[in-house]
Symmetry: none
Subunit: 226 residues, 2 copies
DNA sequence: TTACTTTATTAAAATTTCCTGAAATGGAAT
DNA sequence: ATTCCATTTCAGGAAATTTTAATAAAGTAA
């Protein structure tokens, strides 16, 4: 987890950085707006801790810029006790939380954790494999940019494959993942064949290759065919 | 503007009340949880100032209850300097701001003002999706400019959809949002189907499209149909 | 090749999920 | 007590998906 601390008070910044590093974050420090802009432009941080009052301007500006750039970073505002208006504007601009100076380091930590957790929850990243992009949370799939409609079993099957690319996947493990362990293993795997066939057809009919390679007598592999 | 102060320290309460009255607010006072519950049930306040530690329980409980009742009141938590966890829980529950004891009366005033201002700002805000306009606070909906009368459940359902457009919404999350987590999940979702049907009918009969796309076996999506 | 096993394809059956209309329930107002 | 209205429940049937079963094709080893 990468954090950028934007803070001009040197001693406060140092103790904060030390504490956050100890908590397991990778931290960087910008001591004014100029530095902050440079860093925020170059790197992506999970969370920015932004002091509002900086020597060369207001921290609100950088928040505004980030939001215009549709950044996904979490933002926590640091402001002085009496700067209520700044906090309100900050939240209206799109900051996630604020903390009042002077603050408890453990409280800052709690908020950073909360913000990052919330961000990750709705960022819900996609998984990409060659021409396929799959979003497990929205249950969306696209091949070559065209969206593809899959049934539940087909989707689960594809997700299992794409989560374990280039690896041998036995029919037993597929059965276990898609149907749970209450499956009767004496059964045949006809149902897997059915769904596999449908999945392959849907993917190839949208211009995707047949990524599902059959390993005779064992199972399958999800690979990019040469 | 009506304010309810929930505070058990008598002298602190008295000075606070006097100050706020002078600032032009109409104030009431509850000195314990029991009184607070009675008052909060009878009247609607623009802002509640809630001390967390009360003789007969935690102020967090009343906040929780208000939120369950979907109260629109602004809430400011009052807590001791070292009660970091209380403040965090309070914000998580849905309080708008907090202030640390002992506090400046002018700061309290500033926060009350900010909370009320933000609340009014939200109240003016309508959410628009294609031909639908919905105002969560006035609980008004219109389709194609014509106002639409919805029952409570229908409204909550539509609000939940329109607040999460183009995203997958499971039946489970609908149940949780509209009926709370004390729902028996073994139950069927028949009641969702019922309200859904009525909502769809009302919207389409006013010239709106069927924005509610069903994702078979998973849930729904609120989208603008092509 | 031949015999055998495993996988693929297909279509039909079985099941699940969803929609609909109507009836039952329950609370609030008259 | 009666009426009204929102909400929930129930039963039917429609639609989509999953599973079954039968057959075809492909791979493996002798």
């Amino acid at each position: 987890m990468n954090i950028l601390l934007i803070e001009d008070e040197i001693s406060l910044a140092e103790t904060t950085l030390k504490y956050l590093e100890k908590e397991g974050y990778h931290c960087e420090w910008a001591k004014n707006l100029k530095e902050a802009n440079e860093k925020a432009w170059l790197y992506t941080y999970d969370c920015l801790i932004v002091d509002i009052t900086l020597p060369d301007g207001s921290g609100l500006d950088i928040i505004k810029k980030l939001k215009e750039r549709k950044s996904r970073s979490g933002i926590i505002i640091v402001s002085a006790r009496n700067a209520v208006q700044d906090r309100i504007s900050g939240l209206e601009i799109g900051a996630d939380d604020y903390i009042i100076k002077p603050f408890d380091l453990s409280e800052l930590n709690a908020r950073v954790k909360a913000v990052i957790r919330r961000r990750n929850f709705d960022a819900q990243n996609e998984i990409t494999f060659d021409k396929i992009v799959i979003n497990p949370y929205e249950r969306l799939v696209s091949v070559n940019g065209e969206s593809l409609s899959l049934t539940k079993k087909e989707f689960d099957l594809l997700l299992y494959f794409i989560s374990n690319p280039n690896r041998l996947i036995t029919k037993e493990s597929i059965a276990e993942h898609l149907w749970g362990d209450n499956m009767d293993m004496a059964d045949s795997y006809d149902f897997i064949y059915s769904h596999l066939k449908n999945l392959r057809k849907k993917i190839t009919s949208q211009g995707g290759d047949d990524y599902i390679q059959t390993i005779y007598g064992i199972g399958y592999k999800f690979v990019k065919p040469s």
